[in-house]
């Protein structure tokens, strides 16, 4: 399987080449175009195992209820995978370490990557992050998307990520909801409010823009929907 990206970072799309017999699993609705020799199987769960309950959890993680499994039937095949928001896409190398992906950011994964929807705590009610996250494990590659540019860094110690900017993070890290800087007063008066503080060791992927900040900027100009 070979993954290439085009039109990064503004309107990224993933071009995935599969050899005969290879499968990629993608979130429902991600397929933009593909070769005709592709078999599609639609399930509410991962191909091997997973329960209906996990599909319900995935809905809560603002992911699609359905997964599509694309398999190259005979010979090579290619598929383009996209998302609905403008922004960046990138690959995550899954190498045994678990990776947690924010609900809504998962696009696709190769066949030996396992994924599970997991509850990441009530703290996310406060921070506005997803309550449910996609946990990736196993071996292979996954594709994620974001609103804005995806940038990553290695945390060793503490690092602050403003709410709305987390895309994914590795096992070995966890975050708490706290303030920016030393004072709660400054954090709130300065418009930062709650932020996420990552501690431990591992990689974090962030998005340069927050879709909710853009929404807040845009919404005063939008017309209210007539409900009568």
């Amino acid at each position: 399987m070979q993954i290439e990206f085009e039109y990064k970072p503004g309107n990224a799309i993933a071009k995935v080449k599969l050899s005969a017999g290879q499968t990629i699993t993608a979130e429902g609705g991600a397929m933009v175009a593909m070769s005709p020799n592709m078999d599609i199987e639609t399930t509410t769960r991962q191909r091997k195992g997973g329960s209906l309950f996990s599909s319900v959890k995935r809905l809560l993680a603002s992911e699609s209820f359905f997964f599509n499994h694309f398999t190259a039937r005979d010979g090579d095949a290619e598929i383009f995978l996209g998302t609905s928001l403008p922004g960046d896409m990138t690959t995550l190398a899954v190498t045994g370490k678990k990776i947690f992906v924010q609900g809504g950011s998962y696009v696709a994964s190769s066949q030996d990557v396992q994924f599970e929807t997991v509850w990441r705590g009530a703290k996310n009610l406060i921070s506005g992050e997803s309550l449910f996250w996609i946990e990736l494990s196993g071996q292979g590659e996954a594709i994620i998307n974001a609103f804005g540019v995806i940038y990553s860094f290695d945390v060793d110690g503490d690092y602050i990520v403003d709410t709305g900017h987390i895309v994914a993070y590795e096992e070995g890290l966890d975050y708490t909801i706290t303030k920016a800087g030393e004072s709660w007063v400054s954090s709130f008066l300065g418009g930062e409010g709650f932020v996420c503080k990552f501690s431990g060791r591992g990689k974090v992927w962030c998005q340069s823009h927050s879709s909710s900040s853009f929404g807040q900027q845009l919404s005063p100009h939008l017309r209210a929907i007539k409900t009568s």
Binding site: G181, S183, L189, G191, H209
Partner: protein, 219 residues
């Protein structure tokens, strides 16, 4: 201080390296990520009454943030803006530029930030009742919705309303109909802003009101 803009033109953001003892002044909410040891101090943007009036009439933040590196080694903070678009890092030298209230993102600590009444012309043309003036010495980081065109005005330039991001203060703003009354109403241009004088302007390639009214057609 090293400021590096990435993601231009569609999704610009800026990595700022702060050396020990350095401070960067930012717009409220501009921080996306930062080293946990950077300290934040939020200060009133000017006096209290002035700040309040700007918040309610100018749509600006009441507070601005001072992010300081009080450690003994270099630390990084990443800044962003709400809208997808470009950013410009402008060295003011000893000069001044005027910014639309939403354009300001950050500046070096020696830059003087002021909010001025921009006049009725600015308000009618959709550019806001207030404008920010930033004066050197130092660098200012500002952003826009869409790409940013930097243009040298010699005498006169017509700009559609909602597209002006920044301009040098010697330029005068005037509002006018884009053509005759009929053609102004039918051409979709309506009112335009006329800049008079010699100096630099920064224009955004998209405007948020235009984008919003396109979305509004679906409801």
């Amino acid at each position: 201080m090293n400021i590096q803009i990435l993601g231009n033109p569609s999704f610009a953001f800026a990595h700022v390296d702060l050396d020990p003892g350095e401070t960067i002044v930012t717009e409220s909410g501009a921080m996306a990520t930062m080293d946990a040891s950077i300290d934040l101090d939020s200060k009133l943007n000017g006096g209290f009454l002035k700040g309040l009036s700007r918040k309610f009439f100018g749509g600006e933040s009441l507070f601005i943030n001072h992010f300081s590196n009080k450690t003994s080694s270099q630390r990084t903070i990443t800044l962003t803006q709400p809208t997808p678009g470009s950013m410009v890092l402008h060295d003011l030298g000893n000069g001044t530029i005027c910014l639309q209230p939403t354009a300001f993102i950050a500046c070096e600590p020696d830059v003087k930030l002021n909010t001025r009444f921009a006049g009725l012309v600015s308000f009618i043309s959709g550019e806001g009742l207030f404008k920010i003036t930033v004066s050197g010495p130092g660098k200012v980081l500002f952003g826009a919705f869409g790409g940013i065109i930097e243009k040298e005005v010699r005498g006169e330039l017509i700009i559609d309303t909602g597209h002006l991001v920044a301009y040098e203060p010697q330029l005068k703003l005037k509002i006018q109909l884009s053509g005759g009354i009929i053609s102004s109403l039918t051409s979709g241009e309506g009112l335009v802003t006329r800049m008079e004088g010699d100096g630099k302007v920064w224009i955004q390639t998209r405007n948020l009101q235009g984008f919003a009214s396109w979305i509004n057609r679906f409801f």
